[in-house]
């Protein structure tokens, strides 16, 4: 386990697990809230929006049952994410739906931003906003980015959501979605590149 600084306002791993096993309901509520977003992102990426919450609920029911057997070999958060992914996949098999992840077919070949020698056609103007926080201050931009994320191809949307919005590690994502790390990297970059263009367009025109 890597020692990353906690930024979720929860106690350290050992205290966390101990508290949960000792009927600390306040702590449980905090954990539920802190990990809802990544768990939802995982469920959403596998089963879609309509039943993502049901999957999160089922995952918690399983997790609560399995908690006494939790051995702490991974972080609690990773453990919950794995349970969520398993729950979601079971659900997917039951409903025999599937989300295709394999197609990495869209090509960079005809990117209008570049000439045939691979130089920029037009200079990309500088952005007024200096930091991600400055960018966030524009509500229209937030809405605009969310709208365009919704329209990304499924596979790109899944990975962008898990990695950059949900903050999951790349190897966790590859396990959950059963993709190779090279495919995942390509898809992630396509999605990020598209979002950069959305923000750039907004900065240039003030419109979505």
């Amino acid at each position: 386990m890597t020692a990353t600084k906690r930024n979720d306002g929860l106690p350290d791993e050992a205290a966390l697990v101990k508290g949960l096993l000792n009927n600390d309901q306040l702590l449980f509520n905090k954990v539920f809230k802190a990990y809802y977003s990544p768990m939802y992102a995982v469920a959403y990426s596998i089963v879609g929006n309509a039943i993502a919450d049901e999957v999160v609920q089922e995952a918690w029911v399983s997790a609560i049952r399995a908690l006494p057997k939790f051995e702490g070999r991974s972080a609690l958060k990773s453990w919950l994410i794995r349970i969520t992914a398993n729950e979601a996949k079971t659900r997917l098999r039951k409903e025999s739906r599937s989300v295709s992840l394999d197609a990495v077919n869209e090509s960079w070949a005809t990117d209008p931003r570049f000439d045939n020698k691979g130089h920029w056609n037009d200079a990309n103007p500088e952005w007024d906003a200096a930091s991600p926080d400055d960018l966030l201050s524009a509500d229209e931009l937030k809405d605009c980015v969310e709208k365009h994320m919704e329209h990304l191809p499924d596979n790109q949307k899944q990975i962008l959501n898990l990695r950059d919005v949900g903050g999951l590690a790349m190897d966790e994502i590859c396990n959950i979605l059963e993709v190779s790390s090279s495919n995942a990297r390509v898809l992630l970059h396509r999605a990020r590149d598209k979002m950069q263009q959305v923000v750039a367009h907004f900065q240039r025109t003030g419109k979505c």
Binding site: A41, V61, W120, N124, V145, D193, Q196
Partner: protein, 80 residues
């Protein structure tokens, strides 16, 4: 030399630190000389930071209550 297009296509690997020493050096040299790519790289990093700060999905009260009740129940069962 690395073209701007090639650099842009692999920009995430640079940002995420997945390039070998030599590849990294090549990108750095390009960025040193090319203001457009330098700007792109900066904007990509800003965009990634922005995505990480989008408002988090919040659980519904109904879900929260259901899951917390489930926990309470499991703890009571354990004590009995």
């Amino acid at each position: 030399m690395l073209s701007c297009k090639k650099l842009v296509e692999n920009a995430s690997e640079y940002v995420d630190g997945d390039l070998s020493g030599w590849q990294r050096f090549n990108v750095k040299m390009h960025l040193f000389m090319c203001v457009h790519c330098k700007r792109y790289m900066h904007q990509l990093t800003q965009t990634i930071g922005f995505l990480g700060k989008l408002p988090r999905q919040q659980p519904s009260e109904e879900l929260e209550k259901h899951v917390c009740d489930e926990y309470k129940k499991a703890m009571q069962d354990k004590q009995n």
